[in-house]
């Protein structure tokens, strides 16, 4: 009956119906995300140290190799492209250290680390919690006197908020080393010149990158936990939850990056 009524609607009404439904779904998701954030923050002080340490190892330590490799080659290619481009324009590869240092510290370090972690850790969190949800392990936590947000989300939140900025710092450092190797051995820039240019980067630029990485960490862990907790429908549901957690985290990271950069620059940070 309802289907027939829907088929009889004009395309304008159908469009309106679709827009309305989408807006309601988005509003519903935003509301539930805010509730999850509030509950996670409420339970932060009660998070088990042992679980937090396990998560710091899983999220921070185990993600280091892939983050290091990504940032090393990003720094190298950045130096190479900058050097060749500036050589064409200015006849010599100048400002390579400045461009590599500032790009990595303010943008590429935090954004690339967050994107890599969203793929590695965000997917793992969504898949693990999603599997727990569909196999009733989340309900089992309730029946054993444990709040799932306290036991699962709070430790992951702490681990991400600590681990991701730390990984970002390491990524910036390794990227600058990679850029330096290319600058010195491929472009023939004296190492002293490169180091002097890197030294011009101040605490404001560092703070700019690290503040952004804290927000990105919050996005990754909240979206991944939310997608895991709301997963439905067996193996297919877990797959969908994992994919949407990664895609949504990456999109939000890139969107938020612009607005955070604008706000931080407006406040004179970086």
């Amino acid at each position: 009956m309802a289907k027939r009524a829907f088929e009889e609607l004009t395309w304008e009404r159908r469009l309106l119906d679709w827009v309305g439904r989408t807006l309601l779904d988005v509003a519903d998701m935003m509301g539930r995300l805010v509730i999850l954030c509030r509950q996670t923050i409420y339970w932060l002080k009660s998070a088990e140290r042992r679980v937090v340490m396990q998560q710091i190892v899983e999220i921070g330590v185990n993600s280091f190799p892939v983050t290091a490799l990504t940032s090393l080659f990003t720094g190298m290619v950045l130096a190479l492209q900058t050097g060749f481009s500036f050589r064409k324009v200015f006849n010599e590869p100048i400002y390579v250290g400045t461009v590599v240092g500032l790009s990595l510290t303010k943008e590429l370090g935090p954004v690339l680390t967050a994107v890599v972690i969203a793929g590695r850790v965000g997917a793992a969190i969504a898949a693990e919690l999603g599997t727990m949800k569909v196999t009733e392990q989340i309900d089992a936590l309730y029946t054993l006197g444990t709040n799932p947000v306290k036991y699962l989300a709070a430790p992951r939140f702490i681990a991400c908020i600590i681990g991701i900025p730390f990984l970002t710092l390491m990524a910036i450092f390794i990227g600058i080393i990679g850029g330096g190797l290319v600058a010195v051995y491929r472009l023939g820039i004296p190492s002293g010149t490169y180091i002097n240019e890197i030294r011009q980067i101040g605490w404001k630029e560092g703070a700019h990158g690290l503040i952004k990485s804290v927000f990105f960490a919050g996005i990754i862990v909240t979206i991944s936990c939310f997608k895991g907790f709301t997963c439905e429908g067996g193996a297919e549901g877990v797959g969908k939850a994992t994919t949407s957690a990664v895609v949504l985290s990456m999109v939000l990271i890139l969107v938020l990056d612009y607005f955070l950069s604008a706000i931080l620059v407006a406040f004179g940070i970086g």
Partner: protein, 253 residues
């Protein structure tokens, strides 16, 4: 005592329970029977507070649980434990850690006390010495028994079993039935079980309730249920395809 009074629950347009009333007395072993999708698991989850009713009241020891906030509900839930159909054991933890989980979370004793309780409880379900195994290394029957041990370790007043014998061979099913009976007798817990398995229902229950079309059709002792003249109940307990309960057996029917 647990009382459901005129409880209704729907998921979207699908009405699972309509004005359903049921009472579980202390010390009783009640089994809820009914066809697939009739709302047996929903009934258990409503009693446990994992789901909220759309209408009606649910009392656990005279406390109306559907109106409680999360902390108050958590206090009431400490009296109850649920043995999930698939076990719902935590994959990342060992068997010992699974059984100890509730005890650790509710801080019931020192590490030594907890280790002793875990050992005793696993012994009670006939699985002594498997503390270090992971759930993935266990058979279906062992998983169910570990799930029962995890629930029993907390010494709950109410124990809920969701299809405890589904997917097990007849001998293992009988082992689980005997385990449920012995736990009921030894620990004095009030048990509520849902099952399709009539042999199991007759063996473990002091009372059987039939759920049909969103409400309780009849509650009686296993002996009286076997002698029933109600055509719906009779069809269900005999497992006959002919009768008032119509199943969709062909697509589009």
């Amino acid at each position: 005592m647990i009382r459901m009074v005129n409880v209704s629950k729907a998921f979207g347009t699908h009405h699972v329970l309509r004005n359903c009333s049921l009472e579980v007395k202390d010390g009783e072993s009640l089994t809820i029977i009914g066809g697939s999708g009739t709302g047996k698991s929903v009934t258990l989850k409503l009693m446990l507070g994992l789901l909220k009713p759309d209408r009606g009241q649910i009392y656990v020891d005279d406390v109306e649980i559907s109106k409680l906030d999360e902390d108050q509900l958590s206090e009431t839930q400490k009296k109850m434990c649920y043995v999930f159909q698939g076990g719902a054991l935590f994959d990342s933890l060992t068997v010992g850690e699974n059984v100890a989980f509730g005890l650790r979370q509710l801080k019931k004793g020192t590490d030594d006390d907890i280790a002793e309780t875990v050992s005793k409880t696993l012994n009670l379900v006939g699985l002594a010495g498997i503390e270090r195994l992971k759930p993935a290394e266990l058979s279906g029957g062992m998983r169910k028994r570990v799930a029962i041990a995890r629930a029993v370790a907390l010494s709950p007043k109410y124990l809920f079993y969701d299809e405890p014998t589904t997917g097990l061979d007849p001998i293992m099913s009988d082992v689980i039935n005997d385990l449920i009976i012995s736990l009921h007798k030894q620990l004095g817990t009030t048990s509520v079980t849902i099952t399709h398995d009539m042999k199991s229902a007759y063996k473990i229950s002091t009372h059987i309730a039939m759920l049909y079309e969103g409400g309780i059709l009849q509650v009686d002792t296993p002996e009286n249920i076997q002698k029933t003249t109600n055509p719906v109940l009779k069809q269900f307990i005999t497992g006959s395809a002919e009768g008032p309960i119509k199943m969709k057996v062909r697509a589009g029917e």
